[in-house]
Symmetry: D2
Subunit: 340 residues, 4 copies
Amino acid sequence: MVSFECDYIAGAHPEIIKRLAETNMESLPGYGMDHYTESAKDKIRKSCACPEAQVELLVGGTQTNAVVISTMLKDWEGVIAADSGHVSVHESGAIEYSGHKVLALPGKEGKLEASAVRAYIQKFYSDMTHDHMVFPGMVYISHPTEPGTLYSKKELEELSLVCREYGIPLYLDGARLGYGLMSRESDLTIEDIARLTDVFYIGGTKVGALCGEAVVFTRGNRPEHFLTSVKRRGALLAKGRLLGIQFDTLFTDDLYFRISRHAIDMAEKLKEIIREKGWEFYMDSPTNQQLMIMDEEQMETLGRKVLFDRWGIYDEKHTIVRLATSWSTSEEDLEVLREI
Amino acid sequence: MVSFECDYIAGAHPEIIKRLAETNMESLPGYGMDHYTESAKDKIRKSCACPEAQVELLVGGTQTNAVVISTMLKDWEGVIAADSGHVSVHESGAIEYSGHKVLALPGKEGKLEASAVRAYIQKFYSDMTHDHMVFPGMVYISHPTEPGTLYSKKELEELSLVCREYGIPLYLDGARLGYGLMSRESDLTIEDIARLTDVFYIGGTKVGALCGEAVVFTRGNRPEHFLTSVKRRGALLAKGRLLGIQFDTLFTDDLYFRISRHAIDMAEKLKEIIREKGWEFYMDSPTNQQLMIMDEEQMETLGRKVLFDRWGIYDEKHTIVRLATSWSTSEEDLEVLREI
Amino acid sequence: MVSFECDYIAGAHPEIIKRLAETNMESLPGYGMDHYTESAKDKIRKSCACPEAQVELLVGGTQTNAVVISTMLKDWEGVIAADSGHVSVHESGAIEYSGHKVLALPGKEGKLEASAVRAYIQKFYSDMTHDHMVFPGMVYISHPTEPGTLYSKKELEELSLVCREYGIPLYLDGARLGYGLMSRESDLTIEDIARLTDVFYIGGTKVGALCGEAVVFTRGNRPEHFLTSVKRRGALLAKGRLLGIQFDTLFTDDLYFRISRHAIDMAEKLKEIIREKGWEFYMDSPTNQQLMIMDEEQMETLGRKVLFDRWGIYDEKHTIVRLATSWSTSEEDLEVLREI
Amino acid sequence: MVSFECDYIAGAHPEIIKRLAETNMESLPGYGMDHYTESAKDKIRKSCACPEAQVELLVGGTQTNAVVISTMLKDWEGVIAADSGHVSVHESGAIEYSGHKVLALPGKEGKLEASAVRAYIQKFYSDMTHDHMVFPGMVYISHPTEPGTLYSKKELEELSLVCREYGIPLYLDGARLGYGLMSRESDLTIEDIARLTDVFYIGGTKVGALCGEAVVFTRGNRPEHFLTSVKRRGALLAKGRLLGIQFDTLFTDDLYFRISRHAIDMAEKLKEIIREKGWEFYMDSPTNQQLMIMDEEQMETLGRKVLFDRWGIYDEKHTIVRLATSWSTSEEDLEVLREI
């Protein structure tokens, strides 16, 4: 049985395991004060060409979204997101748990359009009763989006412009950032993202780490007393080394980007196989997740050899099936699929 | 200048002021333990033909929604509401402040359809990832709705059925309940509402009181230690008599229903005037709020004699204008309008 | 039966009822935008000799504490209070409901000492792990305190100094402010309080109003978008006139201070009666609440003619009994007591 | 330089690193649905002799306390803890962030006495105003306590009895549980703890793991929809295997207990060295943390060879110094200390 269920089925990239083992008996201070964490932050700043960035390491994606959004929003504000956004749908209400509303706008293939955001904010401020409403205080996007689509540089520039126009931060959830940046269709670099957003995170969990997400505050805008706010949300890891060593490894010799490219190469081959098999794509995705429309019979056949994800319901007889590649996908895995 | 701006422009019904004055120097216990509050609760139970109901008096509408919803939802649940629902839009995120998500579904003229609710819940439970989502834990409707429409008995029965099918409470926000019940198009009585919902509130603020809303838990389902939960939300009034005396008065000799009927009679005359003037209705409303589409010139003319509410934006050149009647609207007020 | 149970047993001062009746049919805008509210705010600013103060009217005391504290604290901060403080003990955890900790310090007869506050803050900042603790972000005091004691001008100046030294606001809960200011032992004026605190509230509920507390932000420090934050906490009153008219009346011709002085005069006579009867004082109080130590027999005797409050447990055989006077206490009430 | 700063200076026990490496490329489902997590839970249940226990793995201690306490408390409840308890002092207000109050009682050498808990609860219920207070809804203890003391079986039985008497859960924070259980003065086994508490957690972070705490609900009392509540608090780890493999390893062949015993053996030798050196103990601790009173000169000498923790301020000239052993402390480390 081979798994294409998601991009977090394997442990960590072997280089990470090796580094964890090598450094294991070193005495290091806790709470991210260790030199590996410092080094990881430096490397990330360099990678982003953003020397003034403040980098913070957290454990997981939902946690990161909740911490970043709730510490950056003001009391009377909510966060704009696409209606398919992770924070809108798949975080069990973690943003609301922090007391803030997700202002969901209809997305287009998972993406938020700058024009829709501008229209929403304009309408908000022209509404005579807006003092009785939730103020738009941040824009959240995921890149790649949940269904695997990508913002173009132009689209991101437009979103950035709207946000600056209204003085609210643009936050990019990069749970799968590597797979987005290495996509053959991407015209965005990590420097672009650092330049165009106010805060974003570089996903580790889905891109080679056991756990960990690196938040980048791109303009010295990390919330005051951030460590205390992280602690109070139960999100401060005692052995910060676990995160520091992983990101230090991922940002040494471009490992993060190299393994992301591998996942994309595998995804491109996966797309070829899907085409060969005549399976129907649900939507065109340039990243590591491929969505197909399948009936029960097709899923039964597929399921004999392969673990996959029932991503959503298409219609009464069809399901949206997701196959995901990752840094750990091998040619052999694809071979199993090809031979179904 | 005559005001049709909203239904809370005047103080209280004169009978209430009289009763407040008459009882003013009586020594009464605080926090709703006084005999006027007891009497008000009894009268409301009788009016609802619901002897087992638990009635609680709170100060305002948003407060009531936040208290009721947050004490009835479980940790992992959110509340389903129409996207135009008061809790969705006009409470500055009060539900989210309590930690819970409003699950907004597209409404139809402000109403939530039972079929849409059922479809949403079915889809939720058939979603493989629903443990990562917010569970639907309550259905919120307003009656009359925000734009002034009404649920029919059949529609309410259907909603009630869905809720019971899934074991979640149906909550009816009756900020303007009197105006709904007394509408000429209503086929619902307050007994029906008590029978078909799990909890609802009888709005006082907009129907003759200075302040106050009476929450009716229709089946002994008042949350445990409710007083403490109310206190902890800053919603416990020290001089509960202020609410008790008002509701006792409103539910003596059907005052609540009589003054509501008056507002409806005034609204019907208002509709005639609108028709006579050739103003365009935005939508047909059988209750005390009438919505019209007006351009700037029309609004300028109107505004010379009358205060009105700019309810929403219709298009670049037109505004949705609201004229509301209430228990305090007089024939003279209408005359001013007629003579514009 | 005569009641000395608490200071909110009667309705409102008759002048307030009269004004509510007189203004009842006026059309006024909602949410505190009416001219009575404006006038009340002006009069309060004048009374405080604080022209730059921002005044906001809220409904009740716990609500006011929760709104003020939670909108002024930063995410990582808590509020210092005496361990007997209302926010520490008797608000069902309303501050914690807003996500913030009450940092309780031992009080002295209900009062917080400047030296204790300074020591606490110094210790906090000298603690190497203070980033893992709750930062002291505000000092809360009540005046009069819960057991009825008063801060002297010197004590308040010292507290003010500590707060300014550490850059945190000093907040004074004046639920019974009038009774404190009019006490024969008080050397503080309302101008002093406006000068020495950063925010305080003038209690209406216990001093002549049906409901209502007036918050005074003394240095242009009202939190941004305060109305929206109030709304989102369910604390925005639709008919703001109810609060505006009451405070406008209370601050016309010094009514607030005159009725407070009356309550103090009654309390002084009450103290004489207590001395005559040989009842034991629990502590010396210069304000409207008198605490005595009584056994069951004494309470039985007292209870035949008078309603009183069992304020606390003294020891296995004795109870702390509270008798409170207020603006509504009459000579006749005292006579009943004297004749027991 | 040798570190005795705390018990989380090293990575994980080498056996854990080995197992992480060996299992690294296995495809496993996420969110704790993997077979290692299942196996870990089974082994923990067996170790506790508590077959009906529900075991859940979380990432860190503060997170675990916040999740357990906030999902088990009812809306109107708070948690009783010693005033020195971790939840009272060192979690940046994480419990309050969840909306609940920590009801701090004076502890005795870090321990909560059953008599104090009973007295507090009795007083609470005899207080006429307790509906305006926070209900005691849980008792929190840490074992070992923050300063390193231990509950005896008798003390734990008494606490258990009080909790059952009042129907509230007893929760034991076992961040350093292994070191407590293996202490030479302990008369408690893990079975005793499972029998006497309602919920407790077995600390991994400080006892051999990179991260991870295992919560044990001892009587089928895991809160409903726990996974969703965990997710909504940002505490659900995608690669649950990281926790599963670690606890599976720790509970294989008693590794958890063996390495804990080693730490205690090292601590006993440490105590001998302290005695030899004539350093003054701050308090007698039977576990892995030793507290001493030192002046600046002593600390300077110590600090030349050894990293230590400034645990607290003793007086103006003296500091409370903590030296901690752990599973990773070696004889060589002690030798460095001996030779100072």
